[in-house]
């Protein structure tokens, strides 16, 4: 008797609990997502609303520190009426072009030099003190030299952006090569791989994880390089918009320029994340999640 009735009730029991467990888990997940977005919105309201409130009440002087509603107004003005030089889109295009050229140039140089020095211990030992010295220089100041030497055109901006990008990508590419699994190298060597094949099959793919991770930070620095060089001297670009607003004692337009560049950087970051997901699809998901933070 027992043996025939017991399994039945057990089966019924598990079916019920399984579906209800699943439903409960789904409900909990949904609730967490809602709560997350509510909390995020609340945080933005708290910061921006507080800023607005404090300036409205006069506790903080809007003349010096700007004011969210006025920042919004100057953003609208920038996009509808443009600057005194023309459309804001033209300025965005100029700054973006400088940053992208600098990013590409700096990344290519950084990857090349990083891979080379990473594989050649003697060369890297010779150059390492100099790299450290150059890295210790506040490189933003190089912008002044570049503007003096190369004028107000695109080139000095691209150059400064490239210099900033170079060091970030270089250090990561270098480290990536050094972290290559020696067993893998021995393995392909025993199988008869030439030095070029070792680089193609082991060193470069292995370093790619590090390089791609560095590109996130590097693009932000490309934007900084382009903007700083524009502030130091230029004829077009968001940096010029910002420095002129500063001259007019107009913090709202400075913040508006900041906001524009922040949006652009976020979009670029997103694109790099897409690239990362494609190129590094082999990685275990836990790592990718940690990198996403």
């Amino acid at each position: 008797m027992n043996t025939t009735t017991l399994p039945q009730t057990e089966v019924q029991g598990t079916v019920e609990t399984e579906s209800s467990i699943r439903a409960r888990a789904r409900e909990a997940r949904r609730r967490r997502t809602t709560l997350l977005w509510v909390a995020r919105a609340a945080f933005a309201v708290f910061v921006i609303g507080g800023w607005q409130l404090f300036t409205d009440l006069g506790w903080v002087n809007a003349f010096f520190y700007g004011k969210p509603s006025l920042i919004w107004q100057s953003l609208v003005q920038l996009f509808t009426q443009g600057t005194e030089f023309g459309s804001i889109w033209a300025d965005i295009a100029v700054t973006l072009r400088e940053a992208v050229y600098g990013f590409i140039g700096g990344a290519i140089a950084g990857i090349t030099v990083g891979l080379l020095l990473g594989q050649n211990r003697f060369l890297s030992d010779v150059l390492s003190p100099y790299i450290k010295i150059v890295n210790a220089i506040p490189r933003i100041i190089l912008g002044s030299i570049f503007v003096v030497a190369f004028g107000l055109g695109t080139f000095p901006k691209v150059l400064l952006a490239a210099v900033l990008v170079f060091f970030i990508v270089f250090f990561n590419a270098f480290q990536g090569v050094r972290e290559v699994d020696p067993n893998l190298v021995s393995n392909v060597k025993v199988l008869g791989a030439s030095p070029l094949q070792v680089a193609r099959h082991v060193t470069i793919p292995s370093a790619l994880t590090w390089i791609i991770a560095s590109l996130h930070t590097a693009f932000g620095f490309a934007i900084i390089g382009a903007l700083v060089a524009e502030v130091l001297g230029s004829q077009r670009g968001i940096g010029l918009v910002i420095v002129q607003a500063q001259g007019r004692m107009d913090p709202n337009t400075v913040f508006a320029g900041m906001a524009i560049m922040a949006v652009i950087t976020l979009v670029a970051e997103y694109l790099i994340t897409l690239l990362e997901k494609r190129v590094l699809s082999w990685r275990p998901p836990s790592q990718a999640e940690a990198a996403g933070l």
Partner: protein, 279 residues
């Protein structure tokens, strides 16, 4: 292409390994010279399965590196197929304790790396790799990445990758050391099966005496550091040996195992006393 005609002649003279009076010295990071192995002489006949057992740090792995050509001897000679080893020895495959798989390549990509490095056309390499994955029981896993596999499956991939070139010499450095006991026994049985088909000369390094006796034709016991050959035991268990797990209970196996252990025991104790004293 060279690999193909070597495959037929795995038991040919070219697969003979002769090591005579091999000595290897290193300079430690503190600048002190250190003798890893001293005056090691051994011969592995073509198609023979030879295992080396010895205490930790006795220079077993160093011996392997000399045969593969990854390192040079400080004294003595290493000959493969009658020729002195200078540079990478052709026709050799290596299997390490760590997986040594490419985490960014698929299972298929990992297995076909050997033929690809030898310049085999991609299509042929893929076909050959698929065939080898079938042989190690991983058909259907071609497009997985190593991190998606269990430890035993990763070993199978490494084994297929090591054997796909039909090497005449297979060097194995504690290949199953990191596996759990059951998986280890399964992998050993599979290795024996594949080895009996291809018959490369094998130099197999292990800590595990049971493993050495179960797999090898000949077991060499090395002394504690600096390593040298202490004793050689011929294992006359009949082949094919079948399941390693069952082999373990046979009286002849236990007798050989006991004799080798009595030789190895002193060395292990000596090596242990040294590390314990140093610590």
């Amino acid at each position: 292409m060279t690999q193909q005609h070597l495959a037929g002649g795995a038991t040919a003279e070219s697969a003979r390994i002769e090591i005579s009076h091999l000595t290897k010295r290193f300079v430690t990071p503190t600048g002190e010279p250190f003798t890893a192995i001293r005056d090691v002489s051994l011969t592995i006949e073509p198609g023979q399965f030879c295992a080396i057992v010895g205490p930790t740090g006795c220079g077993k792995s160093t011996t392997l590196a000399q045969v593969s050509g990854l390192a040079r001897p400080s004294g003595g000679t290493v000959k493969v197929g009658g020729r002195d080893v200078d540079g990478i020895t052709p026709g050799v495959s290596f299997m390490f304790q760590a997986d040594a798989l490419f985490p960014w390549k698929t299972v298929l990509g990992n297995v076909m790396i050997g033929p690809v490095l030898n310049g085999m056309p991609r299509k042929d390499a893929v076909a050959l790799a698929r065939d080898w994955l079938r042989r190690v029981g991983l058909a259907g896993f071609e497009n997985r990445h190593p991190h998606q596999l269990s430890g035993g499956m990763r070993k199978r991939v490494a084994m297929a990758a090591a054997l796909i070139n039909s090497p005449q010499i297979l060097l194995m450095d504690e290949p199953f050391g990191a596996l759990d006991v059951q998986t280890k026994a399964i992998m050993q049985t599979e290795l024996l099966g594949l080895w009996e088909q291809l018959r490369p000369s094998v130099l197999f390094i292990t800590h595990d005496l049971d493993e050495a006796v179960a797999l090898a034709d000949k077991v060499l016991v090395m002394t504690s550091s600096p390593g040298s050959i202490k004793e050689t035991f011929e294992i006359d268990l009949p082949r094919p040996r079948g399941s390693v797990q069952e082999l373990r209970h046979e009286p002849r196996f236990l007798e050989l195992q006991g004799r080798i252990w009595s030789s190895l025991k002193d060395e292990v104790e000596r090596a242990y006393a040294r590390t314990a004293g140093a610590a």
